[in-house]
Symmetry: C2
Subunit: 190 residues, 2 copies
C-alpha cells in the first residue's frame, strides 16, 4: 500500500494521512470506486484549462473570459484557481488572470516558469490590472515584477487593500475579507 | 465544480479544500488522470477486505492472518485499518482485529453495527485479547462491552498501557494520564 500512497501523494492536496483514509475507504466501499470514476470522467470530459486566463472552462466556457456581463477591462491577477473560485459568487465584476504560482528565486521559479507572459499579452491601454498576489515576500516580488513590466502599458494598476494581514496567505482568507480588500483596492499607478 | 466537490467529499479524508486542490491539479495536469487510474485499478484488482480480521488483503494475502510467524493467539483489537498499519513495521508479533468503528450511543452505533461479532467468533481459550481502542469515552465503552462478553471465553485480556506519549509535554497532559503514568512507572535502575 505504501507504493500506492506514494503515487497518490503526487496529486495536490493528498498527504500521507489523507491518502491512507482515501485508499482504505475505497477498499471498504466498492461503490466509491464507481463514484470516483464518475467524477473523473466528468472532470476529464467537461473541464479544461482556459488558455486565456488559466482558470478552467466548463463545457468549453470560461465563466470569466466568456462572460460579457463581466468588465473585461478589469483583470484581477491571482496565483491559483482556488483563489479565483472565491470571486465566483462575489460582487466582483471583473475577470481574472491566474499565474499558477509566484516568482520564488530560492526555488528557481522565475517569471518564465509561471504564466506571466500570457498576462502581458492580454493587457492594453484600457486595462486596469488589480494585483491580488499574496502579501508575502514572494507575492510582493511577483507583484513588483509585474508592475515594472506593465507600468506603461495599461490604464491603471491597483493592489488589494491591506486588511489582509501582512504575511497572510490568500488561501486562508475568507471571501468577505477578500471582497473588502478588492473594494478598497489601492491605486499604484493611475 | 461544486457538484463534483460534493461527490468527492463522500470519500474519507477529502475536505472542501483538499478536494478543490485535487480536482484543480487534475485539470492542470492531464497525466495525473492516468496516474490516478493506475492507482485505482491496482487497488481494485489487488486489495480486498480481509473477511477474518477486517484488515486488507493484498493479492489475497493478509499480512496478519496469513502469516504463520505471527502469534495467532495474540489479537490486538483496533478501531481502524490505519491504526493497524502502524503495527506493521513495529515489534508487535501478534495479529489484529479491526472493529471499523467504536460503539457510540449518541450516533446509534451499537455493537451490531461495528464488527464485534466477528471478534467473538474467532477467540478461544488460548487467545490473549489486547484491547487497543481509543482512550476516549466511546473507546472505553467499546472496550468494556467487549470485556463483558469475552471475559470467560479467552485466556487473557489486556489493555494498552496509559502514559505520556513520545515527545509529549507534561504541560499538555491531563491529570488522569499523568497519574496513570506515575502508577505504571517503569524502573530504570533499582
Amino acid at each position: 500500500m505504501d507504493d500506492l500512497l506514494d503515487k497518490l501523494k503526487e496529486i495536490d492536496g493528498i498527504t500521507n494521512k489523507i491518502g491512507e483514509k482515501f485508499l482504505i475507504n475505497l477498499i471498504e466501499n466498492l461503490d466509491k470506486f464507481n463514484l470516483l470514476n464518475e467524477i473523473l470522467q466528468e472532470l476529464k470530459e467537461n473541464y479544461k484549462n482556459c488558455e486565456i486566463c488559466n482558470f478552467y472552462k466548463m463545457n468549453n466556457t470560461c465563466v470569466f473570459c466568456d462572460n460579457n456581463k463581466r468588465d473585461q477591462n478589469l483583470v484581477c491577477v491571482l496565483t491559483s484557481k482556488r483563489e479565483a473560485r472565491k470571486l465566483l459568487n462575489s460582487e466582483y465584476r471583473g475577470i481574472v488572470h491566474i499565474l499558477r504560482g509566484e516568482i520564488n528565486l530560492n526555488k528557481n521559479i522565475s517569471p518564465d516558469t509561471i504564466q506571466i507572459d500570457k498576462l502581458f499579452a492580454r493587457i492594453n491601454k484600457d486595462t486596469e490590472v488589480l494585483l491580488a498576489t499574496n502579501l508575502t515576500f514572494n507575492g510582493e516580488v511577483t507583484a513588483n515584477y509585474i508592475i515594472s513590466v506593465i507600468k506603461d502599458k495599461c490604464k491603471k494598476i491597483t493592489r488589494l487593500a491591506r486588511g489582509i494581514p501582512f504575511g497572510g496567505s490568500l488561501d486562508y482568507i475568507d471571501e468577505e475579507t477578500l471582497i473588502n480588500a478588492i473594494e478598497n483596492r489601492k491605486i499604484i499607478k493611475k
